[in-house]
């Protein structure tokens, strides 16, 4: 409401835009996290994550915000592998997001 005022259309576009961004960011993270794996595993990872209709249907189309939780969970795993102190912060964000 603070950003979009009383416009339902603007709120819908903003909300779905955030979900779409989280979904695309998750795909980018998966691509980065599997960069060191064999080509077949990288392809499998992107196909499973990106081509499964469930992902787009349940997030961008239906508006489930779980993708935000999972994006932060993926971020946590990526940071955890690098030994970064921000990893548990990302995980807390994920837990709070749901």
């Amino acid at each position: 409401m603070a950003v979009t005022g009383k416009s339902v259309l603007a709120a819908t576009i903003l909300f779905k835009g955030v979900l779409l961004a989280a979904w695309l960011a998750s795909l980018a993270l998966i691509k980065t996290m599997t960069a060191s794996k064999p080509a077949l595993d990288r392809c499998l990872a992107l196909v499973v994550a990106g081509w499964m209709p469930l992902g787009v249907l349940q997030t961008v189309a239906e508006g489930h915000n779980d993708i935000f939780m999972v994006w932060l969970a993926l971020m946590w795993l990526a940071l955890l592998g690098q030994g970064r102190w921000l990893a548990p912060v990302a995980l807390m964000g994920s837990a709070l997001g749901k």
Binding site: V48, M52, G55, I67, L77, L80, M92, K98
Partner: protein, 168 residues
Amino acid sequence: MTAPLFLIDVIIAWRLHGLGWRQLIVRYVGPGLLGIAVFGVFYRSPEFFEGTRVISEWEFLQPRHAVEAIELAVGFDLNVLDWTITATFVLIALASVVVLLRTPTLDNATKAALAIMSAISFVGIAHCGRGIWSGQVLLAALVPRWWLARFVDRRLSPGCVLVIILVG
């Protein structure tokens, strides 16, 4: 949903990165304060948990519901099968955590995270939300050849999704 994954964070920080118990405590001060701050902003009364309570009354799409359907079809009690499925998911999660403790790698951390989330979503909660499934798929994508990841992917295959959409 993802709060239990802190167990994995502790194991990796301790076993892989070699953090001592003091460093571990310091590690969780920031996230703890963040959690308290956000909770403090939104919590006003116990009714804060009303949504969670209502959702816990929804019963939908769990393996035990499939068992109930089979019970109706065959006409006898399959309670043992129900408990076997529940115990299996819990044991898979426990086993994956033990493997992670013994061999602390990022792959094993991902597997343990997927196993824990599968246990929660398939048997731990009453209503397995489709949004949660979409999250599980993304974790499964990181270890696509692991058998549990394949189970998750196939359970959520396009045909299954079509049925869910038609029924739901």
